[in-house]
Amino acid sequence: AGLEPIQPTSYRGRPLKPPHPAELLLLLSCPAFREHFARLFGSEAAEQWRFASAAPDSEVSEDEEEDQLRALSWFALLRVLLDPEEEAVEHGKVLAVAPLGTVPKGAPLLACGSPFGAFCPDIFLNTVSGGVLSNATGPLLLTDARCLPGTQGGGVFSARPPGALVALVAAPLCWKSREWVGLTLLCAAAPLLRAARNALSRLRPSAASLASLLPPEVGAPWGLLLRDPGPPWAGAAVLVECGTVWGSGVVVAPRLVVTCRHVAPRKASRVLVRPTTPKYAKMWGHVIFATQETSPYDIAVVSLEEDLEGVPMPMPTEHFHEGEAVSVVGFGVFGQACGPSVTSGILSAVVQVDDTPVMLQTTCAVHGGSSGGPLFSCSGDLLGIVASNTRDNNTGATYPHLNFSIPITVLQPALQQYSQAGDLSGLQELDHATEPVKVVWRLQRPLAETPRSKL
């Protein structure tokens, strides 16, 4: 509402052609996408989820919202009506499509859409946004590339192979419990185009010939799908369940998992750990150490009852570089319903006390359930343990893209001490952090030095 289209003059300095008339050939839906959507979002907690293009507080009628939800998994195939002269000019590269399952989690993706649809195409047409494939369940994909209302239907392309069409935007914005999740919902392109081919051949003979013009899939044939599980270091992330509480964790030794105190708070508690490696469905462990409530470091350490073999042990970093590309891996938002999500960003701040890093901030999207998960550099080095995102207590708003991690350099000597000698004293030191460190984690200003009297 309020966004009226205007007559464009040029598009980034080049003349913009007027809109062409088109014919709606068919409306398409991917049944597998609908099934996965219902499984992931249609549970008893479904009322927590919203996919409206408008903010939760905006005035969108229930009918409108219901229509949007019904149409979420539907796409449309159009035929543009060009005159023969135009058709002769309009030839371009053939688009290629990435087969379903060939793009791994964490792979870079480029979303291209027009925010606000037809509003000001000379300014907004084909705005691009970068991110990664955050999660996937069947043809339902999620990316952390930022998309805006109006980009529904926009293409999402891979960097490798370059420019292969991976998916189309199904819902640019997701809200859970009135909080913006910061992920965009996608429908994989390959099954949609397969449905289009089938539909065209069944509709009418004249339309059948169009099926052969739909873009082909690149890479592995259907029978030999490459199921790339993603970057190997992501396998170190585990789901941690302690009673009714769950969160994420990271395997730092074959029998040792680090998570957050608020996930596994009590020493000696039994904890269920679910690795992502299919070999292990679940494994029991117990909390050998959890920092005290007064400690700024929200950390718990879990000892497993048996060794986790085949799970990559991440290499802890020794240095942090502000601005470097980083990824968070965690079970936030979906928990056990889906594998861990990967979100990308940069290391936006390294907060130091006495020249020692005590807090890391990133621009990755971090959601409830990601606590305890690992923060990795782009080369897979373990940088830290995610502790929280940000909430404004005055407005109740949560900011997933401002989050805090405990640097691994704070924990590594103590973890090593425990691994080598079973000695908990190093971990217990975390309960005696200095006041300046506590001040940082309470998000307070550093204490001003008391002015000294000159008398």
């Binding site: 839906s29 229509d67 539907w74 480029l110 291209c112 960097a159 370059p162």
Partner: protein
């Protein structure tokens, strides 16, 4: 950014388009629009989101949830549906050719 995305950005910008749906002769009734992907240029085939067509469904939007089918024919929408697609200048179009030429090359006036 450009280095990582260069080839993908070129493809994305050539494939991206915007789609607008409106009622014939009823501009006051407003229009609905979304983004789309050009699958083929000759003939022009475009894939876009289906949300913008729900106001035009003859049987109402309920048909989208009722239908177990994977597709609905185009005539599921009313006859007064008018669809328009707009895209940017392409490498193949005269307007785009100069832009996508090699850096440093130009077409000097004679």
């Amino acid at each position: 950014m450009r280095r990582q995305w260069g080839p993908a950005m070129r493809v994305a910008e050539q494939a991206g388009c915007v789609v607008r749906a409106s009622r014939a002769g009823q501009p006051e009734a407003g229009s609905w629009s979304c983004s789309g992907v050009i699958l083929s240029r000759s003939p022009g085939l475009v894939l876009c989101h289906g949300d913008i067509f729900t106001p035009f469904m003859r049987a109402g939007s309920g048909v989208l949830t009722a239908a177990a089918a994977a597709f609905l024919p185009g005539d599921s929408c009313s006859d007064d549906l008018r669809v328009h697609v707009q895209w940017g200048p392409t490498a193949s179009s005269p307007a785009g050719r100069a832009e996508w030429g090699r850096p440093g090359l130009c077409t000097p006036q004679c």
